[in-house]
Every structure is written in structure tokens, then in C-alpha cells.
């Protein structure tokens, strides 16, 4: 176990005001189970889960309520016991509606879980990753890619390095930070399980250098781990937590265009995902709750709450002392990549790492102006794209032109929009363009 200062860092990126001190000191607090949970069936990337309960059913905590529906999909379990009030439709933070199981919780302590498995070292790798899939574990950094799929790479793509992502480069958010400080031991065990499943020899924990207490906690917890294990201390820079940028920062390897981390022998897992893997494999517990940072200058008491998935944002805010003054903007996730939401009647999910309430003083209302060709977005783009040119193609509805200059490689990190002096909503243009490309590809597939 060593600590290395990473010699590389990705090109571009920005340095926004991090504002992490609002909640970084707040220890993880468990939220009492709310009386009503709205558990969305789409808390992951891919096909939404298929509800397997019906209105009126009595269910136990941990019971399967939505089954995995396809290869890229994940199971959903009940965070608490009670009665299924309805199978309703809910608008999730991304603005899309999906089916949701509404549970009237009864406060019973009875739980249903897979049998515990402490001696996982002797167990077949396939069985372990199946267990992770059965527990509905997905990437908890934000994208929600099913972990089961990441843990079963094809045999022609050997994995030699597992990177635990503890960069948490999004401003304001502190949930992964607190997890590393308070749950380092469990994260260590989860990391060991992931390394075992993938047969990787090398393990790196990537943490930005603005979190010295997390680095110290991880160093201490991982000290007794054998093999090639190191904490990779990264330069604080946004988007250091983005998969491809982080792989470069930690290993110096570049993921080829259109490729996946496994093409360069890497798998990146969020630190909270490692915790969930440990909980699933060792305790048999499905992923039904997570730590979410409720922060921002319009929250009375910024906190890191351990909340069941399906808790409404309104309940989270109430548990943090309510809104201070007037909230002008509510963002699910961080300010760079999060989704602005229109109300607090939105349920949390497995990928919700933060809820941000900002006062009017922190929110800019802008008018998009013409590009002044200053090139700052080109300097900032960590994917080496030309956002100015892309946005102009998209504005002119020349989607093919934008696709030709690598629109689909955009990771929507928001660095370009952050630096744009003409206040152009570049990421929104990219999202619109990408949606149009996807629609065109789907139409071409249908014929």
C-alpha cells in the first residue's frame, strides 16, 4: 500500500468554486423511513425494471419489487416494508416519466435479504457478480450503469487495473467524501471483492488532493491490503471524476475513441458502489438506500443523509431544516452535470448523489449570445472537441455536420458552458444534438 501523486492529468478542465465546506464536515445521518416512498423503476441506465408487485400487496424491506428487464437493466428492491399503495408514474430527476411503486411504509424491522456470505474468497467469480446483479447494484457516481455488466468483461479484454473513483469533482457534493471518511473499511472490502471478481492485479483509489481527510482514512483502511494497491492523489480539477479523464490521470492510458475502459484494461467503480458491492456480497443486502448530500446556500442545515431510494426531495429538505430564504434553483446532482428540477416532488434513486438548493444570488439568468470565437471552450474541453463549432452546427439543425466532428464523444461535463463569455448554453445544444442523432439512428434501425 503506497500513496502516489499522480504524474499525469488530463488536458483541459476547469476550476469552479467548489463550495464543499457547506456539507463536508457533516457526518452521515440516517433519515428515518418516510411514511410514503415512491420507488422509480428506472434508477439506472438502460431498460426500466418491470414491476413484480401490485397495488395492495404487503411487502418486506429488501423484497424484489422490479425485476431486471434486459441485459442493460437492474433489479429494484423495496427500501422498506409496508403496503403497495399503487403502481404509479413518477417523473424522475432527469425529467422523464417512468413507472414507480408507491409504498406506504409500516415501520416494521423485518427484512428480506440473500443469505450472508463472509467466505466469498472461495466462491466462483461468476456467482459473485450474479449476486451483485441480484442485489440491483448500479454505478452510484451518476450514470447508473449496471455493475454486474462491468464486472463481467468479455474474456478477450483482460482487466489489470481497478480504479476506485473517489474524486468527487462536482462542486458542492460531499457524499462520496463522507463515505470514504466514515465507511473506509467497508469500501476496502468491497474493493477487494471487485478486484477478486475481475482478477485484476492492480488497485488504485483515485482521490482529489482537496480531500486530505478522505485520503488519510483510505490509507489507513487499505494499509493491510496485499498486492499492488495505492492511493492515487489527483490534482483538483473538474472533471477529474469522469471515467476516461480519470483513467488517463491515474494510469496514463488513453481510452480509444468510441471505446470502453476495458479496452485499456481498466474498470472504474465509484467508492459508494464498492460499499454497495460489499453490502450485497457479504451481507446479502440489496441496494435500496444511499448517501445523498443535501446542500447549497438555500438549505438551512446542509447534511449528508443516508436515505432510502424513493424518498421525495421534499422529505430530504425537511430533514435538513427546510429551505433558508427562497430557493431560486433546485438541482438534482451537482451544479455542473446535475438536472434542474421543477419541484421537490421528485423521488431519489440509486444514482442521486446530491440535491442542491441555490438562492437567487447564486443563479445566473443568461441570454445566449452569438459565439465570439474566443476558443475558451476548446481549451476547456477535456474530450478535445470544438464545442463552439458543434453548437453552431446544431443551432443550424445540421445534425450530420455535428456528428461528423465527434458530437457523440461529448461527455456533457459542462466545462465549455462554464467558461463561455457569450453565455451560450453549449451543453444543452449538445444534448439536443445527441438526442437528434440517437433518434436518427433509431429510425435508421427501424428502416
Amino acid at each position: 500500500m503506497t500513496t502516489i501523486r499522480s504524474p499525469h492529468t488530463f488536458r483541459g478542465g476547469i476550476h469552479p468554486a467548489y463550495n464543499k465546506d457547506l456539507a463536508a464536515g457533516a457526518a452521515i445521518r440516517e433519515l428515518p423511513t418516510p411514511a410514503r416512498l415512491t420507488v422509480p423503476m428506472s434508477q439506472h441506465l438502460g431498460a426500466p425494471a418491470k414491476p413484480v408487485v401490485k397495488a395492495g400487496d404487503m411487502i418486506k424491506a429488501g423484497q424484489l419489487i422490479g425485476e431486471q428487464n434486459g441485459f442493460i437493466s437492474a433489479a429494484v428492491h423495496a427500501p422498506a416494508g409496508g403496503k403497495v399503495a399503487a403502481i404509479d408514474s413518477a417523473v424522475t430527476a432527469s425529467g422523464r416519466a417512468c413507472a414507480a411503486v408507491v409504498i406506504e411504509t409500516d415501520g416494521s424491522a423485518e427484512r428480506q435479504a440473500m443469505p450472508a456470505l463472509t467466505e466469498w474468497r472461495g466462491v466462483d467469480r461468476k456467482e459473485l457478480s450474479a449476486r451483485v446483479g441480484e442485489a440491483g447494484v448500479v454505478g452510484m457516481g451518476g450514470a447508473g450503469f449496471p455493475t454486474r455488466v462491468k464486472l463481467s468483461p468479455p474474456s478477450d479484454k483482460p482487466i489489470d487495473t481497478v480504479i476506485l473513483n473517489g474524486a468527487e469533482c462536482e462542486p458542492y457534493l460531499t457524499s462520496d467524501h463522507r463515505m470514504m471518511v466514515e465507511r473506509a473499511r467497508e469500501i476496502r472490502d468491497g474493493a477487494e471483492i471487485i478486484r477478486h471478481i475481475l482478477g485484476a492485479k492492480c488497485l488504485r483509489v483515485a482521490i482529489e488532493d482537496n480531500k486530505p481527510d478522505a485520503i488519510a482514512a483510505i490509507e489507513q483502511a487499505f494499509a493491510d491490503m496485499d498486492g499492488d494497491v495505492a492511493v492515487a492523489v489527483l490534482k483538483t480539477s473538474y472533471p477529474q471524476g469522469s471515467e476516461k479523464q480519470q483513467i488517463y490521470s491515474v494510469t496514463g492510458r488513453e481510452v480509444p475513441r468510441g471505446g470502453l475502459p476495458m479496452d485499456v484494461g481498466c474498470v472504474v467503480e465509484n467508492v459508494s458502489t464498492a460499499f454497495a458491492v460489499w453490502d450485497a456480497v457479504v451481507n446479502g443486502e440489496p441496494l435500496t438506500r444511499r448517501v445523498i448530500s443535501v446542500t447549497g446556500d438555500a438549505v438551512a442545515g446542509p447534511s449528508n443523509l443516508l436515505a432510502p431510494c424513493g424518498t421525495l426531495y421534499a422529505d430530504l429538505v425537511a430533514a435538513c431544516g427546510g429551505i433558508k430564504g427562497k430557493a431560486a434553483k433546485i438541482i438534482s446532482g451537482g451544479p455542473m452535470m446535475g438536472f434542474a428540477v421543477g419541484s421537490l416532488d421528485v423521488p431519489t434513486g440509486k444514482t442521486a448523489s446530491g440535491l442542491l438548493l441555490l438562492s437567487a444570488g447564486k443563479v445566473t439568468c443568461f441570454t445566449s449570445q452569438a459565439c465570439i470565437s474566443c476558443g475558451r471552450c476548446v481549451d476547456a474541453c477535456p474530450m478535445r472537441l470544438a464545442p463552439a463549432e458543434l453548437s453552431q452546427f446544431i443551432e443550424a439543425d445540421d445534425i450530420g455536420g455535428a456528428e461528423g466532428i465527434a458530437l457523440m464523444d461529448c461527455i456533457e461535463c459542462g466545462s465549455c458552458a462554464f467558461v463561455c463569455p457569450a453565455r451560450r448554453p453549449l451543453v444543452q445544444h449538445m444534448r439536443r444534438g445527441k438526442a437528434a442523432v440517437m433518434a436518427r439512428r433509431a429510425a435508421a434501425k427501424r428502416g
Binding site: 417523473v91 430527476a93 425529467g95 422523464r96 416519466a97 438536472f339 434542474a340 428540477v341 421543477g342 419541484s343 439568468c365 443568461f366 445566449s368 448554453p425 444543452q428 445544444h429 444534448r431 439536443r432 438526442a435
Partner: protein, 273 residues
């Protein structure tokens, strides 16, 4: 030899040789196209709107002559155009009904609430992708004018925050129907002049909370409307355009004023109540 004469002879020679080659090609390689295709293409309005489903008027003309495709697909041309082509080709035209696009929402900014301030690009799909749109009603017109921008004849205007189609200008090409992210625009017979201008499938109390002029599913209109011309789809009254709706009483009876007659604006309906 004088270089001027050389070059003249060279270029002239190349010209003559090419002309001969083209003459031979014309004789042996020319593609024989049915001369009727060009005639039919001339009879079509030439708007190239694509509303028929083919790539422009020439393509549609080719399909009419070669593949016996239905003559009545051209919305801008209407019945006259279909009849002219039918007479020319000696085929039966069939009945053409002139259709127009209509936006099935009347919840403009004076009636429907917006739940958040949207500050982004002026495009309905982009607004819809941002937290499901800023309109409090999940079904209503967002009013960012994506339909107006695709309209080839400028028949759509944004009035008080919602899209309105000018019936006189609309050529029913259907581009707006495809682009609307909320699927609010329908092509309906131009003769129909009474419409249910709401698309909210929510229950009455939910609708009332977000819009002053949304359908609350009270079913009163179904009692006054001509038999079957307004049907209920859950909590929403829907006009069935295959049947004629002539009884204007429904306009006055609708308690939320979402059933309106063409030409009657919001203010007039409110005054009539």
C-alpha cells in the same frame, strides 16, 4: 504551324469528338422516362413539402405514374390537383378532404401556469428534456415554437405563449405534427370548426390546479354533441373527426371553455359565458 491555329484545331477537334460521343450516347444509352411523369410533376403544386411521404413533388409524380400510388396524398394541391391528375391519367381520383393542422391546447399564458422559469435554448424538445418542461401541465403546449420553425409556409405563430395554426395558410404537410415533443398537433378536416382544445389526460382536480381552461372530464359535451362526435378517452373529451360536429351548443356548455369554434378567441368565449 501558328500556335493559334493549332490550339483552335485542338479545342475544336475535342469539341467535335465529344459532340459525336454525346450523340451516340443519346441514341443508345438514354434512359426512357415516361413523359407523363414530367407532366404530372408540373400539375403538382411544387411546394416540395414532403407531406405525401415521398421526397418532393417529382418523386411523388414518379410514384403516381409508375407505381399507381394514391393520387390524393397531396395536401397543398387538394381536390383540384387530384382531379386534374386523375383526368390526365384517366384514373379515378377518389375523395380528397382538405385537412389542416390544429394545436390541441388552448392553455396560453393567461390561463395555464408555468411551474418554473426556463432559461435555455428556444426549442420545445430542449425545454421538454429539462425537467419535463416548464409548463405546469404535463400535456400542454410549451410555446417555444419548434413547430413554427419547421412550418414551410409560416402558418404557425406563437400567441400568448402557445402555438396557433392559421387555417388559411396551412398546407397540412404534417411537419409540425412530427416535431412537437408533446404530440399536441393533429391533422384534421378543414371543414371541422369546433374542436376540443385540450390534451390533458389528468383528472379534473389535477387539471384545474395547473390550467384555467383544461378539460376536466365532466362529460357535459358528450351529451350535447352530435352522436359520437365527442368521445371520452379516460378523463379527456376527444373530438372524433370522422363524425361531423355541428351543434354549437357544446361551445357554450363546456364549463372550462376548452371547446372552441374556429375564429372565436379566448376573450370572446369568456365574454359569452
Amino acid at each position: 504551324m501558328d500556335p493559334i491555329i493549332t490550339s483552335t484545331l485542338c479545342v475544336g477537334g475535342i469539341g467535335l469528338a465529344s459532340a459525336a460521343a454525346l450523340a451516340v450516347a443519346e441514341k443508345y444509352l438514354s434512359v426512357k422516362e415516361d413523359p407523363r411523369i414530367a407532366k404530372v410533376a408540373e400539375m403538382l403544386p411544387g411546394a416540395n413539402c414532403g407531406g405525401c411521404g415521398y421526397a418532393g413533388c417529382a418523386d411523388y409524380a414518379r410514384k403516381i405514374v409508375n407505381d399507381n400510388v394514391d393520387l390524393t396524398l397531396c395536401a397543398p394541391g387538394g381536390p383540384e390537383c387530384a382531379n386534374t391528375i386523375a383526368a390526365f391519367l384517366g384514373r379515378a381520383a377518389g375523395a380528397v378532404e382538405k385537412r389542416v393542422a390544429i394545436v390541441l391546447c388552448c392553455g396560453d399564458d393567461t390561463a395555464a401556469a408555468r411551474r418554473a422559469a426556463y432559461n435555455g435554448i428556444t426549442d420545445c424538445a430542449a425545454a421538454q428534456a429539462t425537467a419535463g418542461g416548464d409548463k405546469a401541465c404535463a400535456y400542454g403546449c410549451l410555446g417555444y415554437g419548434s413547430c413554427a420553425r419547421v412550418c414551410p409556409v409560416n402558418a404557425i405563430a406563437i400567441v400568448n405563449g402557445i402555438a396557433k395554426v392559421d387555417k388559411a395558410l396551412c398546407i397540412a404537410c404534417g411537419k409540425c405534427v412530427d416535431v412537437c415533443p408533446r404530440k399536441l398537433i393533429k391533422l384534421v378536416p378543414a371543414a371541422a370548426d369546433i374542436h376540443v382544445l385540450c390534451s390533458s389526460k389528468d383528472k379534473g382536480p389535477v387539471v384545474k390546479k395547473v390550467c384555467g381552461t383544461g378539460c376536466i372530464g365532466c362529460r357535459i359535451c358528450t351529451k350535447f354533441a352530435d352522436e359520437g362526435s365527442i368521445v371520452m378517452d379516460g378523463f379527456l373529451a376527444v373530438a372524433d373527426y370522422t363524425k361531423r360536429l355541428t351543434n354549437e351548443e357544446v361551445v357554450a356548455k363546456c364549463p372550462s371553455h376548452c371547446i372552441r369554434k374556429d375564429g372565436a378567441g379566448n376573450a370572446e368565449t369568456a365574454a359569452a359565458s
